[in-house]
């Protein structure tokens, strides 16, 4: 009898990749496949029970007591709704129990976010409070700070905000101008400056504020960013009028100005001068939940639209019988599936003991799900046609709310750069080492590389050990796994050639970097769905055949996209249109206008 014990899936891709590809850059890919992604992370039975108990009341609250249309119309969340959220403990999901929070894991946080995301305003309010607002105290604060602030934040008595963005500094966070100067008695810092687009800015009682401080390093005075816990009660804080926004209208976003706000020295988070790192850590760790949020939203949209599609009749057929409508539903299901897979894989990785750095994975989840979510909501609206465009249905609100996703918590452009460059850095180090070796005259290495190139060019199949007898992927996903392997290996050589071609100046080749990031994101997504679907088949989850179908479809699609991008990457800029694109943009921007003459114009 065939006895596959579940533990036999315990294989790490990290372990497998370098074994088969000892020196190549596809090591970079294994940076993506970092930590163990096979098997798909699981939670214990008691945690499943916990989720069941938690999810039911939250779901009930959101379906019965939250009037999203009203929140959107009046641009404010009613107090009783906020009180309901506080009563459910949703203001302290991840704060440890000793400080009065629920003390839940990243995985359960992601699960709860699926429901919370049904109302964009509430989701943003809660995220600004706990995913970034109080995260600083949680990850870098000392015991006294935690004891003082966290209990009230967990209960929702105090609301937190995260103050980093300034009029002159958005994505470039290192350039903030707000300044904190030590008072003469040395007991206080005085903060001066202004911050904009602060979520919860109008109602926050506790703020994590980033400001420049003078730090003496080796006798030289330097400006460095520090993080402070600022209470509104300290005085000197003025908040502006709430911004009138396109979406997430119920969330409070406003400008804050600080005028000689005295902050006691014990309210510095971490070390003085260590603020930038804290800011990045907070932002990096807050992103992973966007995948599950978007997935939750899309699942809701599928429910809403499928009913319409099944009942609405045109040309004597219901909408659901038309191929183009069916395509939209398939796309929504695919996107939700992939986002879910990525989000919970990442959450599972973050829940591993220790403090695993999953910022790269989280960034990939964020980019994929924010863009996928945007496409899905607009397609869902399209299914309803004119009806969807009216305020009678929630679709237009979803579309507006969703538009913020690619913008906040790090714009997708910045995150793409981050994804690529973090990976490249790693690949670059290995490559430099290799070049040095070759310069030293290590002929064996050179010959090895040449012969390997020859072999792959002659069509030797790539095998990273995902499939086969001891493979980690289920046989029904074998083709997809092979596609991933092919992509990984081609990606390795592509990145290698890119680094040879551009060297350090690759940092400025943004169009190249964008493609590299897209390939990486899609490879991570493929890994996530393969891992998840394999697990589902192996343990016999309900409808796992549907999961296999989704996984295979997505992998097939992603494989072709990846190949297309990589072929483009291997070409030089005149061939892959990059040069033209830059030229067009340059001419347009030089004139600050669309410069073609009007087609109706005459010259004679």
């Amino acid at each position: 009898m065939l006895l596959i014990h579940h533990t036999s899936f315990y294989f790490s891709v990290t372990f497998l990749l370098p074994m088969h590809n000892p020196v190549t850059i596809s090591k970079k890919a294994c940076f993506v496949l970092q930590a163990e992604v096979f098997p798909y992370p699981e939670i214990g039975n008691d945690e499943v029970e916990e989720i069941k108990q938690l999810v039911a009341p939250v779901e009930k609250f959101f379906s019965d007591d939250v009037d999203s249309a009203k929140i959107d119309r009046e641009a404010t969340i009613p107090l009783e709704t906020l009180q309901g959220l506080k009563d459910l403990g949703l203001f302290g999901i991840m704060i440890p129990e000793e400080y009065g929070g629920l003390g839940l894991s990243h995985t359960i946080y992601a699960r709860l976010n699926e429901i919370i995301a049904l109302d964009g305003s509430i989701a943003v309010t809660l995220a600004a409070h706990q995913a970034i607002g109080l995260k600083g105290i949680l990850i870098a604060g000392n015991e006294a700070q935690k004891k003082k602030y966290l209990p009230k934040l967990a209960s929702g008595e105090h609301i937190a905000a995260f103050c980093l963005t300034e009029p002159g500094s958005g994505s470039d966070a290192a350039s903030i101008q707000t300044r904190a100067t030590l008072s003469e008695d040395g007991k206080h810092y005085l903060i001066n400056g202004s911050k904009i687009w602060i979520s919860n800015g109008g109602m926050a009682d506790i703020m994590t504020v980033f400001a420049r401080t003078e730090v003496e390093v080796d006798g030289v005075k330097k400006d460095k960013i520090s993080a402070f816990i600022v209470e509104r009660a300290f005085g000197g804080i003025a908040s502006g009028k709430p911004e009138d926004k396109l979406g997430i209208r119920g969330s409070n976003t406003c400008e804050l100005s600080f005028d000689n706000v005295p902050v006691p020295v014990e309210n510095v988070i971490g070390e003085i001068g260590g603020g930038f790192k804290i800011a990045m850590n907070i932002l990096n760790s807050g992103r992973f939940s966007m995948g599950s949020s978007c997935a939750g939203m899309i699942k809701k949209l599928i429910e809403l639209t499928s009913e319409y599609a099944a009942t609405r009749k045109q040309f004597n057929k219901s909408l659901s019988e038309f191929g183009m409508i069916q395509e939209k539903f398939a796309m929504m299901a695919l996107n939700a599936f992939v986002m879910e897979s990525m989000a919970y894989l990442t959450a599972g990785m973050m829940d591993r003991p220790g403090v695993p750095d999953c910022s790269l994975e989280a960034a990939m989840v964020k980019v994929f799900s924010s863009e996928g979510g945007w496409i899905c909501v607009s397609e869902a609206l399209q299914v309803l046609g004119g009806l969807g465009y009216t305020k009678n249905y929630p679709f237009e609100r979803f579309v507006r709310d969703c538009r913020i996703l690619p913008i906040f918590e790090g714009t997708n452009e910045i995150l793409r750069m981050y994804i690529t460059l973090t990976g490249m850095q790693y690949a670059g180090k290995i490559l430099t080492g290799k070049i040095k070796e070759m310069k030293k005259g290590n002929i064996g290495l050179a010959i090895g590389m040449v012969s390997k190139k020859l072999r792959t060019s002659l069509g030797a199949s790539v095998d990273l050990g995902l499939t086969g007898k001891d493979g980690v992927v289920h046989p029904s996903l074998e083709d997809s796994a092979k596609k991933l392997e092919q992509n990984v290996s081609l990606f390795g050589s592509t990145v290698e050639s890119l680094l040879y071609r551009y060297g350090k100046t690759i940092v400025d080749e943004q169009l190249v970097l964008k493609r590299v990031a897209d390939v990486l994101i899609h490879m991570y997504a493929m890994t996530a769905v393969l891992s998840r679907a394999s697990r589902s088949i192996s343990i016999g989850l309900r409808n796992h055949d549907h999961e296999v179908l989704l996984a295979n479809t997505f992998c097939n699609d992603a494989f072709f996209k990846n190949n297309y991008w990589m072929v483009q990457l291997q070409k030089h800029s005149p061939e892959n249109n990059d040069a033209n694109i830059k030229k067009i943009a340059k001419q347009v921007l030089e004139n600050r206008a669309y410069i073609c003459s009007h087609p109706l114009e005459r010259t004679y």
Binding site: L3, I4, H5, A310, G540
Partner: protein, 447 residues
């Protein structure tokens, strides 16, 4: 492993043949020459139901050498008696403790009494077999904790093989067999073992023993089949007959657009004359496409109310009635394909059988014509065409009321027997319906 087991069984059989004289020696010799499978066939067929003697001999073979030496030629008959005595003792224990109530608490008490009575746990295998047999009576046959508690009766670490020879051969086969039997009973009741079970099994028998393998097999296959049914039935069916009817009808219709209508809620009324009248519930279902089909129905052709048809939901049986018509006669069907050709498929397709359209379904606790007439008049409100179509009632003499709704799964064993018994008991009602359907159908035309 298999080989050693065969060998072992072979020896036991020989011993048996000598002792009990049930198998003539030549046959045994022939069996010995055969392969394992065939041999097993022989042994099982020859022994028939008499498994106990074989087990007894097994004990002889593998129990402590001192005992075998002291009683080398004991006869099965004698053995049977003594063993019976011991088993009866355990059965007695259950009977004694549970004279008045048979519950989980008393069952657990019996186990506690047994484990505390004798530190050596003498006769624990017999005790476990007896307990397994008694579990359904106490209603604990679906309780994982009880199984774990029962498994806990085994002494720990005694039966764990210590060296490779023990591992190679069947170490303490009777105990292992008993462990497997326990797991098998869990399997047949669909109980999934948990980590505690695994820990216990490892403590009792060690890794890679038969009970452990059984455990692994269960853990491999159970989850795979857990969601095999695409139309799952919840473990707890709704108690309320109206809810149950609603659930069953939706399940049968399998159509998102089908609408369930409750035509009448069950209630008890007292009429002016003082007589108590119980009104039955009537729950019907109809989908838009069924309404459409009914609207297009030729009013000259009658529709029929037929039933009751049984529907089993786990261990509950409910009955439903359908409103249907005969298939449209061939002349009414538009068949454009008039030519015969070589490529024609003239085979009979079971899937494509024209069975006549079903226009609506209903469930009621009282399937007489008056009640069903009420359903039809209810339907007529949304399907005005029913006023023009003659409606015929072709009702079988089924059970007049919903059966087994009150029965929960725990009482399933007894339910089966009582149900069967009931059917046997009143053949006057059911028997005739079974014999001949057509003449029993009460035919009546509405309007």
């Amino acid at each position: 492993m298999k080989g050693s087991r065969c060998l072992h069984q072979l020896k036991s059989l020989r011993l048996l043949s000598h002792a009990g004289r049930r198998l003539p020696p030549p046959a045994a010799a022939a069996a010995a020459g055969d392969n394992g499978a065939l041999f097993r066939l022989h042994s099982s067929s020859l022994l028939g139901g008499s498994q106990c003697p074989q087990r007894e001999v097994l004990r002889h073979f593998h129990s402590s050498p001192a005992r075998t030496k002291s009683q080398p030629a004991r006869f099965v008959q004698e053995e049977d008696k003594t063993r019976d005595k011991s088993l009866v003792a355990h059965d007695d224990l259950f009977e004694q403790v549970a004279k008045e109530t048979k519950t989980k608490a008393t069952f657990n008490k019996v186990i506690d009494v047994y484990t505390k009575r004798d530190i050596r746990r003498r006769g624990h295998v017999e005790f476990i077999y007896a307990a397994l047999k008694k579990m359904p009576e106490f209603g604990v046959e679906k309780d994982l904790t009880v199984y774990n508690k029962l498994l806990d009766v085994f002494p720990k670490e005694v039966f764990v093989p210590q060296n490779f020879i023990q591992r190679m051969f069947n170490h303490y086969p009777r105990q292992q067999e008993c462990g497997v039997q326990l797991l098998e009973q869990m399997e047949s009741y669909g109980i999934m073992p948990n980590t505690e079970t695994k820990v216990l099994l490892v403590q009792i028998f060690g890794e890679k023993t038969h009970p452990m393998r059984k455990y692994q097999r269960i853990m491999y296959w159970f989850p795979k089949f857990m969601h095999a049914n695409p139309f799952p039935i919840p473990k707890q069916l709704p108690e309320d007959p109206v809810d149950l009817a609603r659930f069953s009808l939706t399940r049968m219709a399998n159509d998102w657009d089908a609408k369930v209508t409750v035509y009448q809620l069950p209630c008890t009324d007292i009429t002016d004359s003082g007589a108590e009248v119980t009104l039955p519930h009537i729950v019907g279902i109809q989908s838009p496409s069924q309404m459409e089909a009914l609207a297009k129905h030729n009013p000259c052709r009658p529709v029929f109310v037929e039933g009751p048809f049984p529907l089993w939901m786990r261990k509950t049986c409910v009955y439903y009635y359908v409103l249907r018509a005969d298939p449209a006669p061939p002349e009414e069907k538009l068949d454009l394909d008039l030519d015969r050709d070589l490529g024609d498929d003239e085979s009979f397709d079971v899937e494509d059988l024209d069975d006549g359209p079903v226009f609506a379904m209903c469930m009621t606790s009282q399937g007489d014509q008056a009640t069903l007439n009420q359903w039809i008049s209810g339907l007529q409100q949304s399907n005005p065409i029913l006023g023009q179509i003659p409606t015929l009632f072709r009702l079988g003499a089924g059970p007049r009321e919903l059966q087994g709704v009150g029965d929960t799964d725990s009482a399933s064993g007894t339910w089966f027997s009582s149900h069967a018994h009931k059917e046997e008991a009143d053949p006057g009602e059911d028997g005739e319906a079974v014999v001949e359907e057509e003449p029993r159908r009460s035919q009546g035309v509405k309007q």
